[in-house]
């Protein structure tokens, strides 16, 4: 059916749809802006012939719609259009492109329109949001099958994430026809030549690549060997499939970064804490590259990122960020003034201390084991006084009242959104666990 402006159709859920404007076309179909139930939404319509098994695709789409979005990060099918003339499509939310940028834009040079996160903390927040979304998706038994830097829209200010192109999301093990995107495909998919299908384990390889790229602005397998004068398909197969070598591999130095061309990676990587190095070294070790079942899981990345985000401390004087790292830096690496990290937080759910610096956030996971969906539920934030940067406060963002204690004795209640000035010895008890300032 020709869907020109003003065309009216009815969805599977019997909602009236009015086509407003064509937003763009892709290989598989066309996206329109529509009025749906009085709200502006987007409608993706597939071209006839674009789907290799239409009935199976339509039933998967309908099933996904009925199940609902795994988390609000997914731009998920809200309703389906399935017309007698063969027109098939689905309704989804519009992406606010004034606030969100495609992830691939974050990797371009600034001179060519590249965007940047507002801070490393915001970058880690975005990594955390992506990881959490995929943890929930995989936990539901789905695999995404085509993770790449074109699927994610990111708010560079706060790290909020929207995940698009969910039409290939299917129960783990289903063949949708898509094998993935070059540079993000797992070695076993490349070497399987169509016999090995994308699944949760190959999703995890692609996720590790994306996380590394977001933090370092470099691809984990693209070092010296990537810079060959001509990258033929045969060389690509070696680089990403037959013989992938991590650029920061401790033993094998054949694919090291090239200083003139990979400055970002060489600037940030040495400043990251040892546990981050270890995680990437493991994710891209020969053992894990060759054994899909041993890939680093979303749960492991989530633990690591929750810890890492609070280790980026912003200097109150110059605005530079310092990663505290293994040495536990005490001074701003840009202006050498002391950082406001004289206090740390011990939380009941983790075995490390958390810097009590302005911008530190505590999540439900810090308090102890919890449901997958609740791991990133906020518990509290540290804020500094506007007039005196040395005075810091804990703001209760958990949505519930918490108990203030001193030496185990209750001293008061902290209502939701209320704040308390922090000092060593102060304890706060929440329903799922407690924290102590030291």
């Amino acid at each position: 059916m020709k869907l020109s402006s003003g065309t009216q159709i009815t969805s599977v859920l019997k909602c009236p749809i009015t086509i407003q404007q064509r937003l763009g076309g892709g290989g598989q179909g066309v996206v329109y802006k529509i009025m749906y139930n009085g709200e502006e939404k987007a409608l993706k319509v597939y071209k006839p012939g674009a789907l290799h098994d239409r009935p199976a695709f339509a039933s998967n789409l309908q099933h996904n719609m009925e199940q609902g979005a795994p988390s609000p990060a997914f731009v998920w099918p809200l309703d389906v259009v399935d017309l007698p003339d063969g027109t098939l499509g689905y309704v989804m939310n519009l992406i606010p492109t004034d606030e969100f940028a495609e992830l691939s834009e974050m990797f371009l040079p600034v001179s060519r329109g590249g965007k940047r996160f507002s801070s490393f903390k915001a970058a880690v927040d975005a990594m955390l949001n992506i990881t959490t979304a995929f943890r929930i998706l995989h936990n539901r038994g789905y695999s995404y099958q085509d993770l790449n830097d074109g699927n994610f829209f990111i708010n560079p200010k706060n790290g909020q994430v929207l995940i698009c192109d969910n039409d290939n999301v299917a129960p783990n093990g289903t063949h949708t026809g898509i094998m993935g995107t070059p540079r993000f495909m797992a070695p076993e998919i490349i070497l399987g030549r169509g016999r090995v299908l994308p699944n949760t384990a190959s999703d995890r390889f692609s996720l590790s690549v994306i996380l590394f790229m977001m933090l370092t602005m470099a691809h984990p397998l693209e070092g010296k060997r990537f810079l060959a004068p001509l990258l033929t398909p045969e060389k690509q197969e070696i680089l990403y499939g037959k013989e992938p070598i991590f650029v920061m591999d401790q033993q094998d130095v054949r694919n090291r970064p090239v200083p003139e061309l990979q400055q970002n990676l060489l600037m940030i990587y040495p400043k990251l804490p040892g546990y981050v190095h270890q995680a990437f070294e493991r994710a891209f070790s020969q053992e894990v590259l060759q054994n899909p079942g041993r890939r680093v899981t979303e749960a492991e990345w989530q633990e690591l990122l929750i810890r890492l985000r609070n280790e980026f401390v912003t200097c109150a004087h110059c605005g530079g960020e310092t990663c505290l790292g293994d040495a536990g830096a005490k001074k701003c690496e840009d202006c050498a003034k002391s950082l406001p990290i004289d206090m740390t937080i011990r939380a009941s759910g983790c075995d490390y201390s958390i810097p009590a610096a302005s911008g530190t956030r505590l999540f439900r996971r810090h308090l102890g084991v919890c449901n997958i969906d609740a791991g990133l539920d906020p518990v509290g934030t540290i804020k500094r006084s506007r007039t005196d940067p040395h005075r810091r406060f804990f703001v209760n963002t958990s949505g519930r009242s918490a108990t203030l204690l001193n030496g185990g004795t209750p001293t008061g209640t902290l209502q939701p959104d209320d704040k308390a000035e922090i000092r060593p010895g102060m304890e706060i008890r929440f329903s799922g666990g407690q924290i102590r300032f030291e």
Binding site: G25, M179, P229, I268
Partner: protein, 235 residues
């Protein structure tokens, strides 16, 4: 440190897309006007796509002689900097000259010089006729060139007099040729084949190997025949 100090982008390969465009006398009149329109549209369309490679154009026209119309360093220009200026038709079809000039460019000392290295280059041949010189000797020579061997080569045959056999020899595969007798269709083909071949390495794929010129030609034919395909749909 500040994340905003990371001004450089991720290391990207360069992707060179070469055009060898026949501007001999037989292209005079409507065909050359269409070629001028088509190249202008193509350059604009290429500027709009977000290719995940550093895209460079090398455009050559040939008739009784061959010359690069792209200026800049080594006759390569960034898509964003290049403006197509109309060319005129006239003279003979000296394909051998064109191949000789291309061969001189396909070297690490000339047009393929790059810090980050290159993706497999794309070469698009367009002709409406048959060559008048000793092109076979030139083809024999350029076939020895490694860049030429690796390149994704696609031919566009415009009009009934276009020598499809010669194009097949150039691109090495009769299925890697697009044919049309219609000037409107030709404009669309040139634009769509340019954008499609440029994006091949960075899009979701149903295969795990690279794509040949023939694969791209099939994809372009499908798009152009699709009635729902709008002129705005580039990919």
């Amino acid at each position: 440190m500040k994340i905003t100090d990371m001004r450089e982008g991720m290391a990207q390969k360069e992707l060179h897309i070469f055009y060898l465009l026949d501007t001999s006398g037989s292209m005079g009149g409507a065909p050359i006007a269409s070629l001028n329109d088509a190249m202008r549209d193509t350059v604009n369309a290429m500027g709009d796509i977000r290719a995940k490679a550093d895209l460079k154009l090398g455009i050559m026209t040939y008739d009784t002689e061959a010359r690069w119309v792209t200026g800049g360093q080594n006759n390569l220009e960034n898509v964003d900097d290049f403006v197509w200026n109309d060319v005129e038709a006239g003279g003979m079809t000296f394909l051998g000259e064109a191949l000789g000039l291309l061969k001189a460019g396909l070297s690490r000392n000339t047009m393929m010089a790059s810090e980050t290295g290159n993706n497999v280059p794309i070469i698009i041949f367009m002709t409406d006729g048959m060559p008048n010189d000793n092109w076979e000797a030139a083809l024999k020579e350029i076939r020895e060139n490694k860049w030429y061997q690796a390149a994704t080569k696609i031919g566009i045959a415009l009009g009934e007099s276009a020598d499809v056999k010669v194009l097949s020899e150039l691109v090495g595969d009769p299925e890697a040729i697009l044919r049309t007798n219609d000037l409107q269709q030709f404009k669309k083909l040139l634009r769509v084949v340019s954008v499609t071949s440029t994006l091949v390495g960075s899009r979701s794929t149903v295969t795990t190997n690279g794509q040949t010129g023939a694969d791209i030609v099939r994809a372009v034919e499908e798009k152009v025949e699709d009635k729902d395909f709008d002129d705005d749909d580039l990919v």
